[in-house]
């Protein structure tokens, strides 16, 4: 890991995004285990460097589309932790007034066009956001996050080709955490690097270390600049690792069965993105320990307040069923 030409304030910014995601997700995991959250919850722990690095290279004008594992993307784009937490509780004060939940959080004001529970569902929409930027002469870029599993959906192939043929400002960020549910990525495709698929669509395909937030930033910055200057889409494959379950409570589905070996998990643990970044900025005296500690305390406090607010918020009123239906 190295920060090279990345200014210190941006390093701190990236670190902050990683830490905000981590503390939020840890709390969500606890809440789920306590039975406080309805529905399904997919945590982003272990993958924070991807969203943090990519979103640090974007502006509020730029848009992102997310997945079922979307909390990290919302936070990295600058989302409000309170409104997110309330949405996870299904409360009226949540981002989507309790109608979306964990897999459907959006914040259109900051260019977060929505999390999507359908695997591969976001890529075509990201192409459309890129189309709209091109159409209106804006230098806005459109980013789509998706998993290794999603790269096997038809929508991936159609979207890359469409964005390529129209030379649209779209960045496809594949979060290869090596599993789609309980299936190893390598059992679902006969290639090692999903980035290689870019060749088939005539666009650049890059492999990046998805546990290194600074590298993710650097690679994204280059892709963003390419897209802004009208040179078209890029596929970035971030090699990363999902620390925990596919969905919280997966033990129930597994019923004693296993699908990952311990050596692999241990190796991945050693590449924890927060730990790596923390070690780097501390050991190289880039960010003072005091700053990092205060930051952690502040974030922990914000998350705790968000939980409190969410708990004390009302459920949506039944009358709200028919609100936001037609314009």
């Amino acid at each position: 890991m190295h920060h090279g030409d990345i200014p210190i304030d941006i390093v701190l910014d990236i670190y902050t995004r990683v830490l905000r995601i981590r503390r939020f997700e840890e709390e969500v995991g606890r809440l789920f285990r306590q039975g406080q959250l309805p529905g399904f919850v997919h945590l982003y722990i272990g993958e924070e460097a991807v969203a943090a690095g990519v979103c640090a290279a974007l502006t509020d004008q730029d848009t992102i589309i997310s997945t079922h594992r979307g909390h990290g993307h919302v936070i990295a784009k600058g989302g409000d932790i309170k409104r997110m937490m309330a949405e996870l509780f299904g409360k009226a004060t949540g981002y989507c007034k309790g109608k979306g939940g964990s897999m459907h959080i959006a914040d259109f004001d900051i260019g977060m066009l929505g999390a999507i529970g359908i695997v591969g569902g976001g890529m075509p929409i990201a192409v459309g956001a890129g189309l709209s930027a091109w159409y209106s002469g804006s230098d806005r870029v459109s980013v789509c996050f998706f998993g290794d599993g999603a790269a096997n959906e038809g929508s991936f192939h159609e979207s890359l080709n469409l964005a390529s043929t129209l030379t649209l400002p779209v960045i496809f960020v594949c979060e290869n955490n090596q599993y789609g549910e309980f299936t190893q990525a390598t059992d679902a495709m006969n290639i090692t690097d999903i980035a290689d698929r870019a060749v088939g669509y005539g666009i650049p395909g890059l492999v990046a270390d998805g546990t290194d937030a600074l590298e993710m930033y650097r690679v994204s910055r280059a892709a963003v600049s390419r897209a802004r200057s009208g040179d078209g889409p890029t596929l970035i494959e971030a090699k990363t690792h999902r620390r925990g379950s596919h969905a919280e409570g997966e033990e129930v589905f597994l019923a004693g069965q296993t699908y990952r070996d311990e050596a692999e998990t241990a190796a991945a643990q050693a590449k924890d993105p927060l730990h790596l970044l923390h070690t780097y900025v501390s050991e190289n005296d880039i960010l003072p320990a005091e700053t990092l500690e205060t930051l952690d305390a502040d974030i922990t406090q914000i998350v705790a307040e968000a939980v409190e607010t969410a708990r004390n918020s009302p459920d949506p009123a039944i009358e709200s069923l028919y609100e936001d239906l037609w314009v």
């Binding site: 359908i118 038809g154 589905f253 069965q257």
Partner: protein
């Protein structure tokens, strides 16, 4: 008779049919580990060749099922959630649902699509929609939606032996439900309803989880002296018109309860048929109880308010009694 859960009954149907016929195999995402417990354990018994895990590629997997079916196999294609069928819609609607007819009877498509249908898990719009009504609208696909472990097993076995495409829908909310399942082999014919409660004042027709809503409503109505007959259709396409019309001939009142949106719903079809064919038996206009006409919300409170409730059913029955 042993009592089993709904998912265990489905698992039994799958394993019995796979033992019985080597052409039957299971294909889908994570069917080996079993995202839903209904496919769990099959891989241990039948191995890699007959329990096939796939990439996340619903369109290709559904189409591969069709291709295998027209070339002599009997695939069971597990696409997990009903909403994922949308990704495979082309292969199902344009191909499976027309091939035999379109090619002048040259082929048959003996395959089963299996998914989870409907609300109840508070997972939001992308996982909680009921989809049965779309497939009822297709002329060459059978659609079944059993409500009990007994029906689940018997109907799934029939589906696997059927030479036509069959969509087998099961409900996450019923997965843990227990019921009696005989140890000996049995089949339930596709297209036969089950009268769950005999009554003389009103016919309530339901399917899947709404059968329980209808039965609860009937018990509550009984305390007011209203004696409701409750029919579990079990099969949606073809559906047991005769049993329904016979019941309406006796009661003269009809309430259709169905977890799909009002327009072109399963309930719409039943109600229209009763209005058309039993008009002279009716003492009151037919009533439909459907989902509220909004996308499926995440909040458990709202989700519950969308699907037909006991209160909704009782209110509809009262309308027929006015």
């Amino acid at each position: 008779m042993p009592r089993k859960t709904y998912v265990a009954a489905i698992q039994e149907a799958l394993s019995e049919e796979m033992r019985r016929d080597p052409r039957v195999f299971l294909i889908g995402e994570d069917v080996r580990i079993g995202v839903f417990p209904s496919t769990r354990g099959l891989h241990a018994e039948f191995g890699d060749k007959r329990v096939i895990d796939t990439p996340i590629s619903e369109l290709a997997v559904a189409g591969a099922g069709i291709g295998a079916a027209v070339t002599g196999l009997r695939p069971i294609v597990d696409l997990m959630f009903g909403t994922f069928l949308y990704l495979a819609f082309d292969q199902i609607a344009n191909q499976a649902g027309a091939m035999r007819y379109m090619y002048g009877g040259q082929t048959k498509t003996p395959l089963v699509f299996m998914v989870q249908n409907g609300a109840g898990s508070s997972a939001g719009h992308h996982h909680s929609q009921a989809v049965h009504q779309f497939f009822m609208n297709m002329p060459q696909i059978k659609v079944i939606l059993p409500s009990t472990p007994y029906d689940g097993k018997g109907l799934l076995k029939s589906a696997i032996r059927d030479d036509n495409p069959v969509l087998f829908l099961h409900s996450l909310s019923l997965g843990g439900k227990r019921g009696q399942v005989p140890a000996e082999e049995y089949l339930i014919p596709i297209g036969a309803a089950d009268v769950k409660r005999v009554g003389k004042d009103v016919t309530i027709c339901a399917v899947g989880p709404t059968v329980y809503t209808a039965l609860d409503a009937a018990e509550s109505l009984a305390t007011e002296g209203v004696d409701a007959e409750v029919i579990d259709l079990r099969s949606l396409s073809p559906w047991d018109k005769e049993t329904v019309l016979e019941s309406v001939a006796k009661t003269g009142r009809f309430v259709a309860v169905d977890e799909s949106y009002p327009t072109c719903s399963a309930a719409s079809e039943w109600a229209a048929t009763v209005a058309q064919e039993a008009f002279h038996d009716l003492k009151a206009p037919v009533q439909r109880v459907n989902n509220k006409d909004v996308p499926m919300p995440f909040s458990p409170v709202l989700e519950k308010a969308v699907v037909p409730s006991q209160t909704d059913v009782i209110a509809a029955v009262r309308k027929t009694l006015d």
